[in-house]
Symmetry: C2
Subunit: 573 residues, 2 copies
């Protein structure tokens, strides 16, 4: 019985599958049609961004979407290639292989394989909490910087020049160096497509709504903008034979279902791609879970982050064996799916069928599709990710958070995505540790007429001349253990009529071994000076721990339940 | 005026120099004689441990001791080569040069130079607190493992074989592979010297005391043990010509004052040695400051850790330019200096003069000194560092601390000192973050007859059915922000008559931007469910920060000064 329950836990499909009915089926089918239409140009564009042949984008949307439907917990999440992960993929593989080579495509499969394996392992060991090490400001800064990098990386397609690089200075330098290659017709197509797509996003929706259409229809028309741009520019290039004038086009795309592929398993390649794969997994997971939780909250459903790891891991393993590249739950496609009324993960499976049909039947139609159009769809999509207001918001609230955002943005733009996000994470951890290394310590007194104690510098409180009461506002651990020793030494040598030091532990949530040794040292030194050391408001978990030590036996004073008890007890002492 | 004060701050000698008198002079002179006699064999031995020619150990004790006397704040600290830093030096330089080559000695100078520069920089920027990142258990584990490594590294000298390696398996494997080379006479000398020194340490002191001698005399006789062993074995080898029978001896040592030397400054060498230099600096600083603080506390003096950085940095820079290698404040020599009555750092300067005399006049006397005797003094000295009881103590108190110690010991022995200590530090930080990522949250109620609130599961308390009061036992920051969201979501969906959620912030010492966003999300969700969110006992610094955000304006409830106020206010609500 236990093994079946366990099996069920890893297969959420068994849960929602039981109650699947006709209503859900029709909702899911409608959502699938809408998402499929939107995904065709998007998949091609993201493959281009990742430096892969266009069909890789479509393949990466088929098997992964089905595997996520089986193992994932979100009802509306749509899994496939997304902008940030495509950028990370290009950056990681660019270091081990040349774009366009066989090795490049194999490295993409390997990256998806490693990423999938890592996600599944994290899920099995329930390590989803690791994603919490990415703070909100670091994520916001990283997404913004990635959006800028992606937009700039597409400029070369709009200008029709060949440029490369994975940081802002590299990209801009390379574009500048190749400015002589500019193709005017490409620039015209690219600029027109970008302007059109911006207008669709900003101007079309209000227009359609003002004509009396419902919000869903307005939304569908807006999302169909890229399809329209694709159709018009493709026909334009085909009719005028512009590819002979130097306009780069998508060209021949194989007409087939996703092929069975094997990732490269040489230890060298695995070694080189391991760190990028871990980074892609965690970034992809964080992005996907945020989307899934936002959508789930709207319908009062719950997401299990550890099961999500398994769902996304399975999706990536699927991508590795079917000609794809790393995938995750995408924001825009998931929102469309949700808004279009998807009820269950089956909507994803139907989308996969639609895309499989497209891969077999529709690929000849994109032969004349100009790369500049795909670049335009990417630029318009990612600029919505760019939000520099996080800098201003964190500046007003906390300089530490601001530093983490600013470092993440500057380093991601200047030194690449991997260094950028790693620095953001490390910096936010170090700033946190630094803050806790010099904790706030308040001398407190009794608020008259209550049993409540507050900082003597902020409130009008009563104090006793022979008692020094300190509220330590931090858990005591190795980073601040010595600080407390020094502080008490200093405070006690200052006052001569002092006979009692009371440490109010209401904000001490843990005492580690280093801090225990410091408390023992404080206790001994105070005893040598004929001063008693008392503890008050020690929390249950901290008390449990202290009882395993000698501190309480040797304590040259008492442990009081509340600060008020200590006040009463020491007033006449 | 300010610049003179500043100058004074960086030159503690100007402080104690003003009141220097005859009494202090005679105390300092006596202490210097005792320390000099003890330091001669010790310096030779530690140079051997570092893989350097014996005179390097003496040179490293002269200029550094004088520079520390000028810039350091401890009155009793004796600076020079110490066991752990010598081991770290051997491990670092062994990776860039062959023992015995010119490059090896130059690398030692460079290491001292980098280490000195780094310490001075840390002192100028007042970064002494960084040493706190080494927790007590990690230091204890590291010192114990280093003691074992050092003792094993000296076995080859006792056996008379050539072996190498920087980890326990490497050393033991290498000794085993060279067992055929064993020199029986060397084994005899080494074993006898070791046994004698153990007896001096354990048996001689009680014997001398029982004969009615004072503790200081007993101490001096004990410390003179190594000198006796050196004299006896040297004469023995010289008389019997044992060096012709394969017993390795110290040989010719140049008769000179410390030479002027220049560290190697090629970018390659600096790059390779930078990380080891930082590690040596921090370990050396931690060891030195602990010794200095222990001794200062006995005389109610104070140590300024940031000025100590400058003193130790100057000492290392001095070593770099006078043929030495990295140095720090040593435990045994400082204790001897203190016990012998040293009053001021001038005792150190007199010791330096004594050693300079030894370097010029006494070096021919150690020509026949067998390496095995030096190895014996090292083994006996470092075994007192080995203390595995820290494993048992931390096991009883906290599994997290135990894991950090155990990892430090195992990895230092198995993979070398650098990986060992780095893993210990990283592991203790990660364990701390992990603990704070899943904070303890207690539901609290009123302790009857008081205004004090405690955990409902540990105390008999009163609660209100329509109010849920949670005391969050951790600062709220990015690592646990999502945890709180999930927890409150879960608790609130459980109870249906619930109308108020009170978060008691007595243990919340900080709220970062990520946590602020989570609190805003919690507030919105509770409002959607018609539940009010209240905060109580918000500390001053946290309140200051929250007032810079929109949370308090949008809060669907109140902020109460104390939990009891909230109880009174919400009882009838």
């Amino acid at each position: 019985m236990i093994s079946i329950d366990r099996f069920r836990k890893y297969m959420p499909i068994l849960e929602w599958g039981k109650t699947y009915d006709k209503t859900a089926l029709s909702s899911d089918l409608i959502a699938a049609v809408i998402v499929t239409i939107m995904l065709i140009p998007q998949s091609l564009a993201y493959a281009l961004l990742a430096g892969l042949p266009p069909e890789a984008g479509i393949y990466a949307s088929i098997a992964p979407i089905i595997l996520y439907a089986i193992f994932g917990t979100s009802r509306a999440l749509a899994v496939g290639p997304v902008a940030v992960v495509s950028l990370l993929t290009a950056s990681a593989i660019g270091q081990v292989a040349e774009t366009g080579t066989m090795g490049y495509a194999t490295a993409a499969l390997t990256l998806a394989f490693l990423s999938g394996g890592f996600l599944v392992l994290m899920g099995v060991f329930r390590l989803g909490f690791l994603a919490n090490f990415l703070s909100h400001p670091v994520i916001a800064g990283f997404i913004t910087a990635s959006g800028i990098l992606i937009a700039v990386s597409q400029l070369k397609h709009i200008l029709g020049v060949s440029a490369h690089g994975h940081t802002l200075p590299q990209m801009l330098g390379s574009i500048f160096a190749h400015l002589g290659q500019i193709n005017i017709i490409t620039v015209f197509i690219g600029t027109a497509a970008t302007a059109f797509l911006f207008w669709v996003r900003k101007g079309l929706k209000p227009l359609v709504k003002s004509l009396g259409a419902g919000p869903l229809l307005a939304d569908i028309l807006t999302k169909a903008g890229p399809v329209a741009a694709v159709v018009v520019t493709t026909v334009f290039v085909w009719l005028l034979g512009l590819n002979d004038w130097g306009v780069r086009i998508v060209g021949a795309v194989p007409q087939s279902l996703p092929p069975l592929t094997l990732p490269g398993l040489s230890p060298d390649l695995l070694g080189q791609l391991l760190v990028p794969a871990i980074l892609i997994s965690i970034i992809g997971f964080v992005e996907s879970v945020s989307v899934a939780q936002t959508l789930a909250a709207k319908k009062r459903q719950r997401i299990d982050p550890d099961q999500e790891l398994i769902g996304l891991g399975a999706a990536n393993l699927g991508a590795a064996f079917t000609g794809g590249y790393p995938v995750t739950g995408g924001f825009s496609r998931s929102v469309v799916n949700f808004d279009a009324g998807a009820e269950t993960p089956a909507a994803g499976a139907f989308t996969a069928i639609g895309l499989a049909f497209a891969a077999m039947a529709l690929t000849p139609l994109v032969y004349y599709l100009p790369n500049a159009t795909l670049a335009a769809t990417i630029i318009v999509a990612v600029l919505s990710l760019v939000d520099l207001s996080i800098l201003q918001k964190t500046w007003g609230y906390s300089r530490a958070d601001f530093s983490a955002v600013a470092a993440t943005i500057v380093l991601t733009l200047g030194m690449g995505v991997e260094i950028g996000v790693a620095s953001g994470v490390i910096l936010s951890i170090l700033l946190h540790l630094y803050k806790t290394s010099r904790p706030h310590v308040a001398e407190v007194g009794l608020v008259p007429g209550t049993q409540h104690f507050r900082n003597i510098h902020r409130h009008n409180v009563e104090t006793l001349p022979h008692v020094l009461t300190l509220r330590v506002d931090e858990s005591l651990y190795f980073v601040n253990a010595r600080f407390l020793e020094d502080l008490i030494q200093k405070r006690v040598t200052d006052g001569c009529e002092l006979r009692h030091v009371v440490l109010m532990f209401s904000a001490v949530n843990a005492v580690d071994y280093s801090a225990l040794e410091s408390l023992e040292a404080i206790n001994h030194r105070l005893r040598d000076m004929n001063v008693c050391l008392h503890l008050t408001e020690v929390k249950g978990p901290v008390m449990d721990r202290l009882q395993k030590s000698h501190l309480l036996d040797e304590l040259n004073g008492h442990v009081f339940l509340s600060q008020f008890n200590a006040w009463e007890g020491l007033r006449g002492a």
